[in-house]
Structure formats: structure tokens, C-alpha cells
């Protein structure tokens, strides 16, 4: 579970195949971003160039840097992820605990130890000089700084999307490592070969920013990383389907806090893009500080933790509950009655469908809709925004519908056990035609679905209406119905299977009909 609902991108989505290959699974950090596949593609390219491709450093060395910096950030998600990765790479737990607590006690090679010293003192020329004196090549130093940037990027993403842990969270030991000692220096710390002004990422950057920012010129030892960074900018900063570029540049310049997002009524896609833009900004900020050479990106990200909220969010996820109705609700609460009309206009279809799902009768649903909105208005003063307004409103509609149903049919059970799901066996098991929606007109299809839905028992109809027709996230549907998530899922499955049974005769090719049989298991 995360702050943003997921979308199934299918097994062929290439970044997930890459993560599967490299991590052995797809981390929930990325599953939480499926509303914007383009950003996952950009992230995958960046991570591949920095972490998955062996250059001067080996993967275990890079994972060690990520582990120590995740601990320094107090980021439980990333700490657990990299801990697990190092375990899979063969590092015993006892040693990992020592590394996380104090890498100098972790029996690390002098080179790995020097890398960790470097990234824990980023931002000073002395740190780079000390690393070079320990025998680290310029390429190794650059790669370590890139991994440090990647660490900040991943930690910011994990905090921002509220990623659920992939593994049982590990306690982060109290440790002394700090992260980013200095501020952006005008003096470059590493030599950077001249790639020529026509180098493709430079051409792209110049077209976008009017110049090639210094932080990119400082990385010419690794042209493939420059290409991945240009890709990230192209896929995260430039598209305007969620947020305008101007808005994103504002975020890059000033950062954001969650309360501001709430006040501005951001959609999930906009909030997600805000998180990813902030993560990208924090990545470049670390590079800027770590590599020296002058400032292109605002030093707003200099705080030790991911800059997502003014309060300390180390050990608990930030609350990114973005409610697009927040502003309108606030207006009603301050006495603007026209704003309530606006809320009704936005949500009457949802309320109507919820009531049809409960009452099974469109006319009665219309009647109950008036009750629902009047109750909502009466109680709006006490609405505190702990859930989305739409979820709260659907709860009122559901309760209004149930109350009417009980008055009408007191014997109909809405609360019976869901154990009967186990006994349900589909009977229609002939293959459907390849493209069933081509068989009927839209009006005929609507009629088929509506008839099928209306024949479902009320408890299945209610959940199917909220989840599949209104497309509420399962958590919101469960909340509106006052059910637990497992019970909601069980009812949803049963409702879907029953609807499938009802629709099947219309979509099985005619030659295959008439041989219905039960499914044995």
C-alpha cells in the first residue's frame, strides 16, 4: 500500500523486468508509481546507469554506500531494501549490522572504507583529495558521488510515495555517519574531459535550459550517466500531462510541503509527479555539492532529510492525502453555499451509483440522493479531512442507502459471513470471444451490464459498484462500506464472478454454448 493507487502495467513493462532481474523482485517503491509509467522508465534508466552497470565500483560497494546513507537519512524503506540486497550478495547479517552502525568496524576493504568516508563528507575538496590519497581513481570517486545522489533520490521517493516495506523493516542502528558536510563549491573537485559541445545530452540540455548546467559538465567521465540524466529530465521535468513545467521548476527552486499540496487540491498524478520532481532535484543537489564546480540547483535541498515536510518524518511516512475537493470544502465551511453546489456537481454521479448499488432501484436512489447531500451539508462543519471528501460522502450515501434498505426489507442480511465465498464455483467455463465489446452496441452493452449488476445480491453489488464502476481504490471502498480490506476483497471477487456468470452467455461464441460444467477446483 502507498499513498497512490496502483495500475497494472502488465508483465511486459520493461523497467519491471529490469528490476526483477536486478533485485529479484519489483520493489514496492516502483509499484507505487504506476500511475506515471514514464517516470518509472526514467528512474529505471538512471538506476541502471548508476547501480546496475559495473564501472569503477562493484555492485556490493555501491550497495554498501546505499545502506550507510539510508541509515544516515533514517530511511527505513531504503535501509531494509539495501540490507536485503547485501544479504543476497553474501554479506552476513552480523557484519551488515556492524557496517550500518559504524562502517569502520565492518571489516571492509580499504577502498570501500574510503568510499564510505568520502560520501559521508560530501561537499569538501578535502574529502575528494583524501579519497584520492587512499588510491581511489577519479572514476571511482565520481561513481561514489553518483551513488550518493541516487541514495538521496531513492530515499526521497520512498518517503514521498509512502512505499510499504518489501521486507520486514529492520531497525536502523544509531550511528554516527552524517551526509553532506559542505555547501556547493565554485571549484570543481574532479577533472572532467571535454566531450564537445555537440555531445547529445549537452545539446538537449542547452535547448532546454539555454546553457549546459555545470553539474552535468562535471560528470563527463561517465557519458552514459549523462544520457540517463537527460532521459530523466526529458521524462520527468518536460511532460505537462500532470504538472506544468513552470510548476515543476517552482518545485525544483523552492521545494514543497504536503500541506501546500493539500491546499491546492493536487490530483494523485500531480502529487506523485511532485514527489518524483523533488527526488530528481535532490539527486542533482547532491551531485552539485559532491562534485563542486558551481551552483545550478537551489540549495533548498541541503537539509539532511528528504525535503518533503517541515516536520520530522524519519520514522513515519508523510501523509500525502491529496484531496482535490479540499479547497471547495473549506469554502463551504467558511459559509460559501455556492461551493456546496460545486461539490454536488462533482459528485452526484458517484452518490447516485453508490445508492443504486445499495438500493438496486434508480428511482429510489434519486430520492435518497437528496437525503445524502443534506446530511453531508449538515455534518460538513465537523469534517476534518482525515479521509478524502469523496470517500466521506460515499460513506454517507452508503449508510443512507442501508438505512432505507433496512426499513424496506428488514430481513435481508447485509452482514452475513463471507465464508460462503469458499463454496462458490463458477459454472460457465467456456472461452469468451476475443473482443466481446465488438459484439454489441454501447447501449446494448450498458443494458447487459446494468441488468447483470442489478441481479447481484446487495452486499456484492455495493462493493462492485464502488470498486469497479466508481473505481475507488480498494481501501476507500472498504472504508466507505465500513468493512475490512479482506472482507471487501472477498465480496468483490464473488460479485465479479457472479457478474461474469451473468454475462457469459452473451459472450461465448454460439458454437461453444450448451456444455456448461462446474469448475472442480
Amino acid at each position: 500500500m502507498s499513498y497512490f493507487g496502483g495500475v497494472d502495467l502488465g508483465p511486459s513493462f520493461e523497467p519491471f523486468a529490469t528490476f526483477q532481474e536486478q533485485f529479484g523482485f519489483v520493489p514496492k517503491l516502483f509499484l507505487a508509481q504506476t500511475r506515471l509509467p514514464r517516470v518509472i522508465e526514467a528512474e529505471s534508466a538512471l538506476i541502471s546507469a548508476i547501480l546496475f552497470t559495473d564501472k569503477a565500483l562493484a555492485r556490493p560497494q555501491k550497495e554498501c554506500i546505499l545502506l550507510v546513507l539510508a541509515a544516515a537519512e533514517g530511511n527505513s524503506y531504503c535501509f531494509s531494501l539495501h540490507y536485503q540486497m547485501l544479504k543476497l550478495l553474501g554479506v552476513p547479517e552480523q557484519r551488515l549490522d556492524r557496517i550500518a552502525t559504524d562502517y569502520r568496524q565492518g571489516d571492509l576493504s580499504p577502498a570501500t572504507s574510503a568510499l564510505l568516508t568520502l560520501v559521508s563528507k560530501l561537499g569538501t575538496k578535502e574529502a575528494v583529495a583524501e579519497a584520492a590519497a587512499q588510491g581511489l581513481s577519479n572514476e571511482s570517486i565520481l561513481e561514489a558521488i553518483l551513488v550518493a545522489g541516487l541514495s538521496r533520490f531513492l530515499c526521497t521517493l520512498a518517503t514521498g510515495v509512502g512505499a510499504a516495506p518489501d521486507f520486514a523493516p529492520r531497525p536502523i542502528p544509531a550511528q554516527q555517519a552524517s551526509f553532506i558536510q559542505g555547501v556547493a563549491s565554485a571549484e570543481p573537485f574532479l577533472p572532467a574531459p571535454d566531450l564537445g559541445e555537440d555531445h547529445p545530452p549537452f545539446t538537449f540540455l542547452r535547448a532546454q535550459f539555454g546553457t549546459v548546467p555545470k553539474v552535468f559538465r562535471a560528470q563527463t567521465l561517465m557519458p552514459d550517466v549523462l544520457e540517463a540524466e537527460a532521459h530523466a529530465i526529458r521524462s520527468i521535468l518536460l511532460p505537462e500531462d500532470a504538472l506544468s513545467r513552470t510548476r515543476k521548476l517552482d518545485i525544483l527552486r523552492t521545494g514543497f510541503d504536503i500541506e501546500t499540496l493539500r491546499r491546492h487540491g493536487f490530483t494523485d498524478e500531480q502529487a506523485l509527479e511532485t514527489v518524483v520532481t523533488t527526488a530528481l532535484s535532490s539527486f542533482f543537489f547532491v551531485l552539485q555539492v559532491g562534485l563542486g564546480g558551481g551552483s545550478d540547483f537551489a540549495a533548498k535541498m541541503g537539509a539532511k532529510k528528504a525535503y518533503l515536510s517541515a516536520t520530522d518524518q524519519r520514522h513515519m511516512p508523510i501523509t500525502v492525502s491529496v484531496d482535490p475537493d479540499a479547497e471547495c470544502v473549506a469554502r463551504v465551511q467558511s459559509g460559501d453555499l455556492d461551493a456546496f453546489e460545486e461539490l454536488m456537481s462533482r459528485h452526484h454521479q458517484r452518490v447516485f451509483r453508490t445508492l443504486v448499488g445499495t438500493l438496486g432501484n434508480p428511482d429510489e436512489a434519486c430520492d435518497a440522493m437528496q437525503d445524502t447531500f443534506l446530511k453531508a451539508f449538515q455534518h460538513l462543519a465537523s469534517f476534518e479531512g482525515r479521509s478524502k471528501f469523496s470517500t466521506w460522502l460515499v460513506s454517507i450515501a452508503t449508510n443512507t442507502g442501508i438505512q432505507r434498505l433496512r426499513e424496506r426489507r428488514p430481513l435481508e442480511s447485509l452482514d452475513e459471513s463471507d465464508h460462503d465465498e469458499e463454496g462458490f464455483r463458477p459454472r460457465q467455463v467456456q472461452a469468451w470471444t476475443e473482443d466481446p465489446e465488438q459484439l454489441y452496441s454501447q447501449a446494448e452493452m450498458r443494458s447487459l451490464v446494468e441488468n447483470g449488476v442489478m441481479k447481484l445480491p446487495v452486499k456484492y453489488r455495493m462493493v462492485l459498484m464502488l470498486r469497479d464502476i466508481e473505481q475507488l481504490p480498494i481501501e476507500e471502498a472498504a472504508s466507505a462500506l465500513g468493512l475490512g480490506i479482506p472482507a471487501t476483497k472477498a465480496r468483490l471477487l464473488r460479485g465479479r464472478l457472479m457478474l461474469r456468470e451473468a454475462l457469459a452467455p452473451h459472450f461465448i461464441p454460439s458454437g461453444d454454448r450448451g456444455s456448461a460444467k462446474g469448475v472442480a477446483n
Binding site: Q349, C366, P436, E437, D468, V519, A520
Partner: protein, 73 residues
């Protein structure tokens, strides 16, 4: 059966998903069940059912607003 529901939602652990997909690779009945359930879901999602016509909603909204404004006086 419950795992098929989770599978349709894209909400199963990788290990379970692999097991299910392995099973689906040689079980025609379950393959049909999953395929037709997906199609059901797509039809329901795409069809745009139970729309309340604006002409029906308008007088309801007017009644509600009249009540609200009346109460507010």
C-alpha cells in the same frame, strides 16, 4: 480462488504470481476463468453504466440548494 481475485487486482506476491502463472500455463479452465473475468472487468469499467441524466439531477440539486439556503436564513 481468493488468490485469483488478488491476481486480477495485480496484488499478489511474486512467488504466488509465478505459481499461478505456472498453473495457468497448463489449466485451460482456470485460464478461461481469468481471461473472462478480466474481460468482465474491462466491460464494466468501459461501459459507463448507471449514469444519472443531468436533466434528472438538476431539479434534485435545486431542491437541495433551496433547503440549504432556506435553513441558512
Amino acid at each position: 480462488m481468493a488468490e485469483i481475485g488478488n491476481y486480477l487486482e495485480g496484488d499478489v506476491a511474486d512467488e504466488v504470481r509465478h505459481q499461478l502463472e505456472h498453473h495457468l500455463s497448463h489449466c485451460q479452465t482456470c485460464t478461461i476463468l481469468v481471461d473472462s473475468s478480466r474481460k468482465t472487468l474491462k466491460i464494466v469499467t468501459d461501459t459507463g453504466t448507471f449514469d444519472l441524466p443531468e436533466a434528472t439531477f438538476k431539479p434534485i440539486a435545486e431542491r437541495i440548494m433551496a433547503r440549504i439556503r432556506g435553513d441558512g436564513k
